[in-house]
Amino acid sequence: MSADAKIQAILASSGFSSKLAKMISVEEAGALWKLSPTAELVGNPLAQALHGGAITAFLELACGAVLSHRLDRNCLPQLISINVQFLAPMRLAPVTAQPNLRRIGRRVAVAHVDAWQDSPDTIVCAAQCEFLCEFA
């Protein structure tokens, strides 16, 4: 199975990840994640800004799926902690995320992700996640 097909299978492993996956395309074998948000992801209708919770879910999904793929698992890992920073308001427009696995230990894996809208030089949000490596 190709890397892309494996990642698609991980995304299809739960109801919530399948729901978000309809708006996600994965490029370069999981190196780049593009969210093309529909209007349902809006969190501030006056500013037409994306919902912070939806963005958090997207960043976590990108990190978790890349970790699962690296460990050759077919479902998402258990999240222990996520810490998200919002650097700029996000418009209802595509968001690209670049997940980075910083450490994979025996029990815990640490990932970091940066995301941008217009240019990779202007990060609009970032997150650090810790996952449990022991899969159910």
């Binding site: 109801g15 919530f16 729901k19 919902h51 958090t56 976590e60 810490n83």
Partner: protein, 136 residues
């Protein structure tokens, strides 16, 4: 507030999509419920962390607005710890407390539980940037 996932009559699309229900919101304290359904589940049928993050972000905003209605709020940072996975098939409830608000920022803590309020499965801490109306 009635059980409408919005503020001051404005519907928040992503919160409406999740069917968030406001139980109470007053004086900086807000309680909201996220009903369980397959489209929000993780692979073990508990509510997915991404959906919990969306509930948390929304309950933070509602707690802030129940303390003092600002012109606008936006999430600066959000840290969520998952103590254990959510119970399969169970609705989840979040209690948010905006314990401090300054001229520019609001500070919020959240606890999330599913079957027993004393058995919290996720906690969160967030800082929001707030803009107030100019004093008359």
């Amino acid at each position: 507030m009635a059980d409408v996932p919005g503020f001051a009559g404005i519907i928040i699309p992503w919160s409406a999509e999740l069917d968030l229900v406001t139980i109470s919101a007053d004086d900086g304290l807000c309680s909201m419920r996220l009903p369980s359904r397959a489209a929000l589940a993780d692979h073990a049928d508990g509510i997915a962390p991404g959906a919990v993050a969306s509930l948390i972000d929304h309950v933070c905003g509602a707690a802030i607005m129940s303390r003092q209605m600002p012109i606008s709020i936006s999430t600066l940072n959000l840290k969520i710890d998952h103590i254990r996975p959510a119970t399969p098939g169970s609705d989840v409830t979040a209690w948010g407390h905006c314990y401090r608000m300054t001229d520019a920022f609001a500070f919020v803590r959240v606890e999330v539980w599913d079957q027993d309020p004393s058995d919290v499965f996720a906690t969160a801490q967030a800082v929001f940037s707030v803009k107030h109306r100019a004093a008359a």
